[in-house]
């Protein structure tokens, strides 16, 4: 039986439909990724699942209990790291954890032990008695994750856990998160808009404007792309798109002055493209499929514009190809 199941869930705020009839299930002790751009409805869905918000229609249940009607039961089974910090900045790390332990009625004998464990888990033993005010973003995030586990929840919600962290802290936090299902027998429900982070998930649902537009494992989703993606810039994109469409029948689009098309074996296609378009090609790069491409294909826009750095090697290869070609 799935630990979370959501059916035809709808949530409206006045005229805005933040969540528009979504359905999905999450299996126990897996990592589930809920992906989507800003304003897609991720946080709204989490708020309904964790009993803070009533659904407009449809239903959501967690651990066999309805999230709206049996909120007391659901609350016992969940831990949450909210998108915005929910630590008390005027208390110390240890006091925040103690507060949590009392609030969840953790027994007298376990309380102290679990708080110490959580501090160690977050790597904050030596800062335990400092006020939260003095903590860095990464330290606060780690502390919040550790706090969310103190009462041994069955599901841990992480709403953009790595937002605003530097790459090093992000990597560290992921290492920490991916260990959880095995170490603590907990199901992770996380949202992010860093698509590359979602590679660690066992299953994924992609949400855009309140609707789930794709779901499956990262591998399954990437397969739907059908191979590599080639990006190119040309002197005359309109003309190039037409020619490429003829060459590859279909699947060619343009965005931000860059043409992209998918090809099963990119490295074979590139020489073909360049032969066809000749001198008008300004640059070419290729990418192995990522979840970002899945998103791009489904919506025609990038979830975040951060894919530029990849594919530099290919650009360099094309440049040297052109140099040789021009001379010859």
């Amino acid at each position: 039986m799935p630990i979370i199941s959501v059916e035809n869930l709808v949530r409206k705020f006045g005229k805005i439909t933040a969540v528009d009839g979504i359905s999905f299930e999450v299996e126990e002790n897996t990592i589930f990724g809920f992906l989507g751009p800003n304003g897609a409805g991720k946080t709204t869905t989490i708020n309904i699942l964790c009993t803070l918000l009533a659904p407009t229609s449809g239903s959501a249940s967690l651990n066999g209990h309805d999230c709206y009607r049996e909120s007391a039961e659901v609350r016992k089974a969940i831990g949450i790291v909210f998108q915005d910090s929910s630590l008390d900045k005027d208390l110390t790390a240890r006091e925040n954890l103690m507060f949590h332990a009392y609030l969840y009625n953790v027994g007298k004998f376990e309380r102290r032990q679990r708080v110490e464990d959580a501090l160690r888990f977050a790597g904050l033993e030596d800062r335990a008695d400092d006020l939260i005010k003095k903590f860095s973003g990464g330290m606060k995030r780690r502390l919040e994750v550790a706090r969310g586990l103190i009462h041994r929840p069955k599901v841990l919600f992480l709403d953009e856990p790595t937002l605003g962290l530097d790459p090093q802290s992000r990597a560290g936090l992921w290492e920490f998160i991916t260990e959880l299902p095995v170490k603590h027998q907990v199901t992770i429900f996380m949202t992010t808009h860093y698509m590359e982070e979602a590679e660690v998930c066992d299953s994924i649902a992609i949400i855009d404007r309140g609707k789930i537009i794709a779901s499956g494992s990262p591998q399954q989703l990437k397969k739907t792309i059908g191979g590599d993606v080639i990006y190119l810039k040309t002197a005359d994109n309109k003309k190039a798109v037409m020619e490429l469409k003829r060459l590859f029948d279909g699947a060619v689009s343009e965005k931000d002055g860059e043409i992209f098309l998918s090809a099963l074996r990119g490295e074979v296609c590139i020489p073909k493209i360049i032969r066809e378009l000749g001198d008008s090609v300004l640059s070419v790069r290729m990418q192995r499929p990522t979840l970002n491409d899945v998103f791009l294909k489904l919506t025609g826009k990038e979830i975040r514009d951060e894919s530029a750095a990849a594919g530099d090697d290919i650009k360099e290869a094309v440049r040297s190809y052109r140099r040789r070609h021009d001379r010859g």
């Binding site: 009993t51 009533a54 915005d84 929910s86 008390d88 009392y102 609030l103 969840y104």
Partner: protein, 255 residues
């Protein structure tokens, strides 16, 4: 259903923060003393003693009421801060009833206000009044009851406001009028009729009056208490219950 662990930890948190925040403690104690000795001291020369009570002695119950009013409301208004800074969510997703949260917050206000009232009470001997042990204990009990009621009222206010800009609105348009229309500065029976109506729907009036009953029980003149002690205590108790119920409902509602 009320969970003792939740009430305890909510009060403990508030208490810890109160002890840490020295400036808040100093200002909440300094304000009533300034009023007592500057306003009371000055006005005593202008206002003749009514019966056996000087004006400075007359306003002492009102000053205690002021201390309780400000610190109770301030304590509950911190809910707005908790909402703004996200901590409220940590409390709201916990498996505890909304009533526990309201009771916890009201008891936080009660604890902190009663401590401050006790500190102000330490200046009692300087006023040249004498009371017995029973009345002294009565003052503490009434202070605690009044603090609880006003803190619950503060929670009701806080549930209607979402941002801390509303703090000054609450202070200027609700808290200050409540103070002036409570019989703290002048007896209710000497107010114009319309203000008497306002005073009579003001819960603080009965708190201040109960304290007057306990501090100068035998006074009969113009400055005597306006209502019987038992009546005062009943009204405060009833208002506390009403505020707790409204606050509980306000917390229960989901967006």
């Amino acid at each position: 259903m009320i969970e003792a662990n939740a009430v305890y930890v909510i009060v403990a948190r508030e208490f810890k923060k109160f002890v840490r925040e020295k400036s808040r403690l100093i200002s909440t104690i300094a304000r009533p003393l300034v009023w007592l000795f500057m306003v009371g001291g000055g006005m005593s020369r202008l206002v003749p003693a009514g019966g056996g009570v000087s004006y400075m002695q007359f306003i002492f119950p009102g000053i205690l009421g002021m201390t309780i009013l400000f610190s109770s409301i301030f304590s509950s208004i911190s809910i707005i801060w908790d909402k703004e800074f996200g901590f409220m969510k940590e409390i709201l997703v916990a498996p505890i009833s909304r009533f526990s949260i309201v009771i916890g917050k009201a008891m936080s206000g009660m604890t902190i206000s009663t401590i401050q009232a006790l500190i102000i009470l330490a200046f009692f001997p300087l006023l040249g009044l004498k009371i017995g042990m029973a009345n002294f204990i009565g003052i503490i009990l009434v202070s605690a009851l009044l603090s609880f009621s006003l803190a619950a009222f503060g929670i009701v206010l806080a549930s209607f406001y979402d941002s801390y800009e509303s703090f000054s609105v609450i202070m200027n348009f609700i808290v200050m009028p409540m103070f002036f229309l409570s019989g703290a500065m002048y007896p209710v029976k000497l107010m114009p009729a319309i203000l008497q109506v306002c005073a009579k729907i003001n819960p603080l009036t009965y708190g201040v009056d109960a304290l007057k009953n306990l501090i100068f029980p035998f006074e009969k003149g113009a400055m005597s208490p306006d209502f019987p002690l038992l009546f005062d205590v009943s009204i405060i108790t009833i208002s506390a219950l009403i505020f707790v119920l409204i606050a509980g409902r306000a917390f229960e509602r989901k967006g």
